[in-house]
């Protein structure tokens, strides 16, 4: 076996870390003999060197932004500054139930971050509690729900409108909040069809969830009109912050007319994705929604920071404690280092990189279904007859992580490309050259790629039909 499981390296009686000596105690007496487990859990038994080699070895079978260009559309795989990891270390030993007077530094950081995120999004108040983007979505939709409830309109407003190009988390969130989801078709220019939207709008609509720029990388140019139309019928406008990186500081959701916005700190604000989290999904709201934010909020009384649980209209709590504090430290560090100019410049260069790469890919023979100035990302298609999946696997072989594939659903064979602002011109050019080179390869080469990755194409059908979700001894 090339990469044995840690369980397959386990040897009975072998030890890694030894904790401080446990005293002799009568566990049955202390805990009740009925309550004790008969068999210990079959955890791996390995020495420390074996442990180190195992996980170091696994890391070497893994691509990341630190090793490869990783232009995953809608994921904002920008560089995660190393200084943030040092920053987090300064706040590791704090317990959420310490007395507030001995965690003033942590509270100050959260307070300032609430304020700075409100400023960057153009909102009036922000909660840092949600643990990820989708969690922020749920929080935001629950705030809207509570708002309608407070006005006695909850029973009447049972529909959430979502464009057909939206991230799947939008309709999933609306469902989790008990709403009926209604999809709005995109118009041929890739934007929300304003007239179609207006047709669906009415006093039965609780909210419209929009991503702007949308998942095609296009800015919704009629956004002000959409906001007006929504507000005219009392619907709330929800901003999915997945694509905020395009307009970070350059155009604020609040100024576009949005009432609620969630942010993905792990996309826009450089919290490392970590292979799928932890992220952080703060939610900003306009003043009329502030009373419904989750508890606690961080407040400042004179020179002292405190946790305020006394918000009678709050939707309650969406997570234990105060959110993913470690992620907040990183986002705080990022904002403090960039300042106004750096934030705006980063957004604009994300847009420049995307447009530049779009031109290069076009030149290499890729189709651009919506070919106008894009924002931070764009959608491309391989030439007729070549499958997107094969392009993705071919890119892996040439040393690039592929873009997002087969999303958004409204574009066939979509490649959603988001280079981010931290990539250099040379990297974009190298990627475009590789993407072009693929189109000249034998079809059979392409269909069997990749070749030199730790494994080659995997049998997904087998995994779905007969999932094997854990190791079993003796197999």
């Amino acid at each position: 076996v090339e990469s044995p499981l840690i369980f397959e390296k386990s040897v009975p009686g072998r030890r890694g870390i030894t904790p401080p000596k446990a005293p002799e105690v009568d566990l049955a007496a202390l805990l009740g003999s009925d309550n004790l487990r008969a068999e210990p859990p079959k955890l791996p038994e390995v020495d420390e060197l074996t442990l180190v080699r195992h996980y170091t070895g696994l890391s070497r079978r893994q691509m990341g932004v630190d090793t490869h260009f990783y232009p995953l559309g809608s994921c904002t795989m920008k560089y995660n500054p190393k200084v943030h990891e040092a920053a987090v270390g300064l706040f590791a030993d704090l317990h959420p139930y310490q007395a507030p007077e001995v965690v003033q530094g942590a509270l100050q950081l959260m307070y300032e971050l609430q304020r700075d995120l409100s400023e960057i999004t153009g909102m009036d108040a922000t909660t840092l509690q949600p643990a990820a983007g989708a969690h922020g979505e749920l929080t935001g939709i629950l705030i809207i729900r509570a708002y309608h409830k407070s006005r006695g309109e909850h029973e009447q407003r049972r529909v959430v409108l979502v464009p057909d190009s939206a991230h799947g988390s939008n309709p999933a969130t609306a469902s989790m909040a008990g709403y009926t989801v209604k999809e709005i078709a995109s118009s041929p220019d890739g934007e929300v069809d304003l007239e179609a939207l207006k047709t669906e709008l009415g006093p039965h609509v609780a909210a419209i969830m929009l991503t702007n720029p949308n998942t095609l990388g296009l800015f919704e140019r009629k956004i002000l009109a959409m906001a007006q139309a929504a507000h005219r019928v009392g619907a709330q406008l929800y901003y999915d912050g997945a694509n905020l990186n395009a307009v970070m500081g350059m155009a604020r959701p609040g100024d576009m007319g949005f009432d609620v916005v969630h942010l993905n700190l792990h996309k826009t604000f450089t919290v490392p994705h970590g292979g799928g989290g932890p992220g952080s999904g703060p939610v900003g709201v306009k003043a009329h929604l502030a009373p419904f934010l989750p508890v606690p909020q961080v407040v400042k009384n004179g020179e002292t920071y405190a946790l305020d649980y006394d918000l009678p209209h709050s939707i309650g709590q969406v997570r234990s404690f105060y959110g993913n504090f470690g992620a907040l430290v990183r986002a705080y560090a990022y904002i403090k280092m960039l300042g106004e100019e750096g934030i705006k410049k980063s957004a604009a260069l994300a847009v420049l990189n995307a447009n530049y790469l779009k031109e290069l890919l076009k030149e290499q023979g890729y189709r651009i279904p919506y070919d106008r100035t894009c924002m931070h990302e764009f959608v491309a298609q391989p030439p007729e007859g070549i499958r997107t999946l094969d392009v993705a696997k071919g890119l892996l072989e040439l040393g690039f992580h592929p873009p997002t594939v087969y999303f958004p659903l409204i574009v066939k064979e979509a490649l959603m490309v988001e280079p981010t602002e931290t990539e250099s011109k040379e990297t974009l050019e190298a990627f475009a050259r590789a993407a072009g080179e693929l189109l000249k390869k034998d079809k059979s080469w392409l269909e069997a790629a990749p070749y030199s990755t730790p494994v080659r194409r995997l049998d997904e059908v087998q995994a779905n039909r007969k999932p094997k979700l854990r190791w079993n001894p003796g197999e």
């Binding site: 030890r15 446990a22 990341g64 300064l90 317990h95 140019r221």
Partner: protein, 433 residues
């Protein structure tokens, strides 16, 4: 400073290529009245200035390391291997492993993690992680309601109050009802789809939930257990006392307290519930050459495939912190984890004995208790907590008034020594004098 590599020359040639006059011109499609607003932000810092500023902030905090605070987050020792390995740049800077050929490292690590959680909980299937313990519980309860087709949840009052608040928020969203049971002997209300108990519970008591799980099943409900992962080194796993779903907070497994997050939640279920699971799952499979490999599976449950019909909206979960949990479990092994648990238990019992010798302090947690217990203080818990903080001690987890007046939790870990216990007892004696 920022992290963009563009030189002046780059800017010029790239702008020309894309046909824009300047950076702002890239935003020409937008309503111009909203473009480039002034922002009230602090002056940009260099890295050196940032770190100095953060050290100043950090100096306004007191370390709670080797403290006695609990309530779901505890100061266990984190072996140096845990952050050293989990922080490998490839893990840190990867996305969710959608391209399996590029992500075998993480995928294998998740598969191993799933196995470890399955072993701890005694349930056959675990997902790749949840945000934290409280949201894992909320999702576990939603799963039970989906499976049972009912809209009522009965939860023991002894479940962590913050967890109950989070469940309440999630249930309100779908119009389901949350009923609080004050004892395991309370009858289960009709139309209940999920019964929830915590073990050890919020006040530290260890339960035998066999009867409760049976009662839940008899009522047509699923039994959802909230468990502490370290306790499972010693205690009967939820799979053995009839839990259909087990969830918990992963922080004690090698994650820094970090003022409450990020950590990870875990979730394990009965085999037949696998297609109801929220979140990511990794399966073993084979590649075209027959080589063993790992891949995300059963994605039809997830939002990016199933959209409005997904089992949950969860997308980003807590992979890196769950990886820390896995490294911790592998570093300690079954024997090490057991020793951590035993020492924590022993220290907690020794501390309870010392504290209850102080006039005015009485133990209120029913026995048997594990590594944490509640006492009644002769003064308000917040006041005592502050007084101890002034002596440099992190202790006295305040207990909400719904459990009684002036209650406080004390948690012990394997880090504590007899001297630590004496030191705390002495300080508490002084504070209460």
């Amino acid at each position: 400073m920022d992290y963009t590599p563009h030189t002046e020359a780059d800017l010029e040639s790239m702008l020309e290529r894309v046909g824009a006059k300047n950076l702002k011109d890239l935003y020409r499609d937008l309503p111009q009245e909203i473009v480039d607003p002034p922002l009230q932000l602090d002056t940009a810092m260099t890295e050196a200035e940032l770190m100095r500023h953060l050290r100043t902030l950090a100096a306004k905090n007191q370390s709670a390391n080797v403290g006695f605070l609990g309530g779901g987050i505890r100061s266990h020792y984190i072996p140096a291997v845990v952050p050293a390995l989990a922080a490998r740049a490839e893990f840190l800077s990867a996305y969710t492993p959608y391209q399996p050929e590029a992500s075998q490292g993480l995928l294998q690590a998740i598969f191993e993690y799933q196995t470890m959680i399955s072993e701890l909980t005694g349930l056959p299937v675990a997902n790749a992680s949840m945000y934290d313990g409280s949201t894992a519980l909320a999702e576990g309860v939603l799963l039970a309601l989906r499976e049972s087709g009912k809209m009522r949840v009965a939860i023991l009052k002894s479940v962590h109050p913050e967890y109950r608040r989070v469940v309440k928020t999630y249930l309100e969203a779908i119009g389901a009802e949350l009923v609080t049971l004050t004892s395991t002997a309370d009858p289960i209300p009709p139309e209940t789809g999920a019964v929830v108990g915590q073990n050890p519970d919020f006040l530290g008591t260890v339960h035998n939930f066999t009867a409760l799980a049976e009662a839940a099943h008899a009522a047509g409900a699923l039994f959802v257990a909230v468990v502490d992962p370290i306790s499972l080194a010693l205690l009967k796993p939820p799979g053995e006392y009839g839990a259909d779903v087990a969830v918990g907070e992963g922080q004690p497994l090698g994650n820094a307290m970090a003022f409450g997050g990020p950590h990870f939640g875990f979730m394990a279920v009965r085999a037949d519930l696998v297609r109801q699971l929220p979140g990511r799952l990794v399966s073993e499979t084979t590649d075209v050459e027959g080589k063993r490999g790992y891949i995300l599976t059963l994605q039809a449950r997830e939002q990016y495939i199933r959209r409005g019909k997904a089992k949950s909206n969860i997308t980003t979960n807590a992979q890196l912190t769950a990886l820390m949990g896995a490294v911790y479990l592998a570093a300690l092994g079954p024997q090490g984890l057991k020793e951590v648990a035993i020492r924590s238990v022993a220290m907690a019992h020794a501390l309870a004995e010392k504290l209850t010798r102080i006039p005015g302090i009485e133990l209120v947690t029913p026995e048997p208790y594990f590594n944490e217990f509640a006492v009644r203080l002769p003064k308000g818990a917040l006041e005592v907590r502050s007084a101890l903080a002034r002596k440099g001690l992190a202790a006295v987890t305040p207990v909400p008034a719904e459990y009684g007046e002036n209650l406080a939790l004390f948690a012990c870990t394997e880090q504590h020594t007899e001297a630590d216990l004496d030191n705390l007892a002495e300080a508490l004696r002084e504070v209460l004098r």
